[in-house]
């Protein structure tokens, strides 16, 4: 296996921070282990806590290329692994009118006619690569079988070409929103990282990093309100992405402190459902809404 990317857990945290991603102890430790043990990293958690962002920051921090495979229902081998370029093959056959069939046959199944898809691209890349398999839970169960093969040995067999082994193991990050349970076999091959909403201090730092212009006391009260909202058992609790959006909104509005009226007027930025909106207004005892300031 190639040299490890990171020297220590602190190194992970430092370099990710340089890439604009503030990692908690859990994230830094697990990333370090994934690198050292050469295992894929399965990141699970609610939407908007920075699962995809982690992969992006990893690529930036290690100077690797990022190859992304977005999963969706019905994705198959030809979209994920490789496909033969049929049209081009047909052209080649038509062009080779006078040639002997044996030559043409061997020629048509050559590298030239292979369309590599993300998985094959990541495996063949001789440079450091971060392979992001996004929203793995959206793909069908059959797709997991394919992933097992690729992630287990980091090799792909193309019947006509032979087996292609990874020149350099890519750093694999799988993300999942946990809409369905992934198979045991796949989970067993991965290190499991559950990303949840960050602690208040970490979130404050994240907001400060992403929205540098925001006043620090305002950021503090923003994080407090978001924290209280998360306790409320809403249909969609605000995540980090929403906190940042909110911070940007407040900055754009030029708000200098967070009072009830500001919160009420901008609540639509962080809460996406009418029912959540109503609940937050009553639980935080905000003044009753007379105008339609709802999402």
């Amino acid at each position: 296996m190639a040299d490890p990317l990171f020297t220590s857990v602190d190194d992970v945290a430092r370099r990710l921070a340089e890439a604009g991603y503030l990692a908690s102890t859990a994230v830094a430790t697990t990333v370090f282990l994934a690198d050292r043990l050469g295992k894929p990293l399965l990141v699970e958690g609610p939407a908007g806590v920075g699962k995809t962002e982690l992969a992006r920051a990893l690529a930036a921090a290690t100077g690797s290329g990022l190859v992304r495979l977005q999963c969706y229902e019905g994705i198959d081998e030809s979209r994920a692994l490789y496909e033969w370029n049929h049209a081009k093959q047909l052209l080649r056959i038509t062009a080779a009118k006078g040639e002997a069939w044996e030559d043409t046959r061997d020629d048509v199944f050559a590298e030239e006619f292979l369309l590599p898809r993300p998985l094959l691209t990541a495996i063949r890349n001789p440079d450091p690569t971060v392979l992001l398999i996004d929203e793995t839970d959206k793909a069908d169960v059959e797709m997991e079988g394919l992933l097992l093969e690729v992630l287990g040995d980091f090799q792909v067999t193309v019947p006509e070409l032979g087996t292609i082994t990874a020149a350099r193991r890519p750093f694999v990050v799988l993300t999942s929103n946990a809409t369905r349970e992934l198979s045991e076999a796949l989970k067993r091959r991965c290190l499991f990282l559950h990303l949840d909403f960050p602690s208040a201090e970490l979130e404050r730092d994240i907001v400060a990093l992403q929205v540098p212009g925001l006043d620090s006391t305002l950021a503090e009260s923003l994080v407090r309100v978001v924290g209280a909202l998360r306790e409320l058992d809403l249909r969609k609790a605000p995540s980090i992405a929403e906190s940042i959006d909110w911070a940007r909104t407040l900055l754009a509005l030029g708000a200098d402190s967070l009072d009830e009226d500001t919160v009420r007027a901008t609540l639509g930025v962080i809460l996406k459902y009418q029912a959540d909106h109503r609940k937050a207004v009553s639980e935080l005892r905000l003044p009753a809404v007379l105008d339609a300031a709802s999402p």
Binding site: V9, T25, A26, T29, T30, F32, L33, R36, L37, K39, E44, G45, E73, G74, H86, A87, L90, A178, T179, R180, E181, E184, K187, R188, L191, F192, L193, H194, D196, S221, R224, V225, G227, A228, E231, D233, R235, L258, D259, E260, V263, A275, R278, K279, L284, R285, L286
Partner: protein, 467 residues
């Protein structure tokens, strides 16, 4: 610890996790050992994350994992070294107020261990101290009690003082700040209570052996908590687990075929496919069908004998009706009435909801014991046409008729008309058919599944139902 000792401890730890229902295989233990080798034992929090990453396979397992971890890899042995531990209860409570007001986690932890140390000890060893001969008999009768410590500290009673301290700095007339402080203070008191519990577990584990404490003092995983005996906090936890499960349940009940086998030809995809066969369309591709919408009907027992289960039923029903518009819900005790409109307008807690249903809907005839015969009968009479050939019906109840008429015919009529009917029973399968249970008779007409906890529910949803 030597390398061999670490390995032995890991194996013990893995066994304890298995004992709590977390499936940790040999492969995971090997991974964990490899992780420990890479990482070292210097930092406890990193070790915790490393073991979690290698041994866990789902986020719901984390609370149990953390508790067992604290027992097997304690932060310290013996009394914790808190800076200047307070002498008596009054002093401790004063310090607690300031720590809670500041939200100082390290201080809270130190106070928790000090509290357990000074107030939580019971049994015979306290005066003589640990060590020395003849304590063998005393050991089994003594330990550290979180209950006893908390009973004297009474953190809940400090809430007022904490709030006063928190709002001292803020200017007057900041209602939002007050609300936030109040919520934070409550959360911190909860945190402190949890610290005291963990500390008492750790100290007792030293005394009695880790295995025993891991088995008895760590609460079971949420998914193994029985619906009928769940506490209020556990129900709140369950709600979080049930939310995604309910979605899965509804989509499975609206079972559809993913690939259409006949119907309209998709010209674009057929032509694209034909390239593989030299332009001859040998395998026609069909247009995908529009995804089916779940047409679901719920029939819930709200009677006294399944009170705990009814709470769960309401959770499930609410979660389902939150996500899908075409769901009709019915409740019954002595007779059936529709509750769809009550669920739709409600945002309150399930307990209030149960009371509202009993007050607003006409579900009772003679008190709180269920009458399945009459309930099924009134449903078929009043809302029989709500069940169509595309409707899935889900019945939730224990099938205990209290000696009344079973009215299997009514159930059969529902089953004949609906696409499918499933019955989830909160009772142990071995008890079906005992006493006044009509489960075997109903079970012959419609498939009935035992559904006592979240694990069984998810098994039913993912394995047994068609989809």
């Amino acid at each position: 610890m030597s390398a061999a000792a670490v390995r032995a401890r890991l194996v013990e730890f893995a066994r304890a996790l298995r004992g709590r229902g977390i499936g940790v295989g040999t492969g995971e233990t090997v991974d964990a050992a490899a992780a420990v080798e890479v990482l070292g034992l210097a930092e406890r929090e990193r070790l915790r994350e490393a073991l979690a990453a290698t041994m866990l396979r789902g986020s719901g397992q984390r609370p149990v994992f953390d508790a067992v971890f604290d027992v097997y890899f304690p932060a310290a042995v013996g009394a914790a070294e808190g800076a200047a531990s307070p002498a008596d209860v009054t002093e401790l409570r004063e310090e607690l107020v300031s720590a809670l007001a500041l939200g100082d986690e390290a201080r809270l932890r130190a106070l928790a261990s000090a509290g357990v140390e000074t107030l939580g000890a019971y049994g015979s060893f306290g005066a003589g101290g640990a060590g020395g001969a003849g304590e063998g008999a005393g050991r089994s009768m003594s330990g550290w009690s979180a209950y006893q410590a908390l009973g004297q500290i009474r953190p809940d009673a400090l809430l007022h003082k904490v709030l006063a301290a928190m709002n001292a700095g803020a200017e007057e007339g900041d209602p939002l700040g007050t609300v936030l402080s109040e919520r934070e203070a409550r959360a911190r008191v909860g945190m402190f209570t949890e610290y005291v519990n963990a500390e008492a577990r750790r100290r007792t584990a030293e005394l009695r052996g880790r295995e025993r404490i891991a088995r008895y003092a760590v609460a079971p995983q949420d998914e193994l908590v029985s619906f009928t005996s769940a506490t209020r906090e556990q129900l709140a936890q369950l709600r979080r687990t049930i939310q995604p499960l309910s979605r899965k349940l509804a989509t499975r009940l609206a079972a559809r075929r993913r690939k259409a086998r006949r119907g309209e030809i998709d010209v674009r995809r057929t032509l694209r496919r034909s390239l593989a066969t030299g332009g001859v369309p040998m395998r026609p591709a069909m247009r995908d069908r529009a995804p089916g919408r779940p047409d679901l009907l719920l029939l819930c027992d709200m009677s006294g004998s399944v009170a705990g289960f009814a709470q769960f039923t309401l959770l499930l029903t609410r979660a389902l009706s939150d996500q899908f518009s075409r769901i009709r819900s019915f409740a019954f005790v002595g007779r059936t009435d529709e509750i769809t409109h009550i669920l739709a307008g409600d945002g309150g807690d399930p307990e209030g909801l149960a009371a509202r249903i009993l007050a607003e809907a006409n579900v009772t005839v003679w008190g709180m014991s269920s009458d399945y015969g009459n309930s099924l009968g009134t449903f078929v009479e009043g809302w029989g046409d709500a069940v169509g050939p595309r409707t899935s019906v889900l019945i939730l109840g224990d099938a205990r008729t209290n000696g009344g008429d079973e009215n299997v015919a009514a159930l059969r009529r529902i089953a004949e008309r609906a696409k499918h009917v499933f019955w989830l029973n909160p009772e142990q399968e071995s008890l079906w058919g005992t006493g006044d249970s009509a489960a075997p008779r109903y079970g012959k007409v419609v498939p009935m599944f035992e559904c006592r906890n979240v694990r069984q529910l998810s098994y039913v949803v993912s394995e047994l139902l068609p989809g």
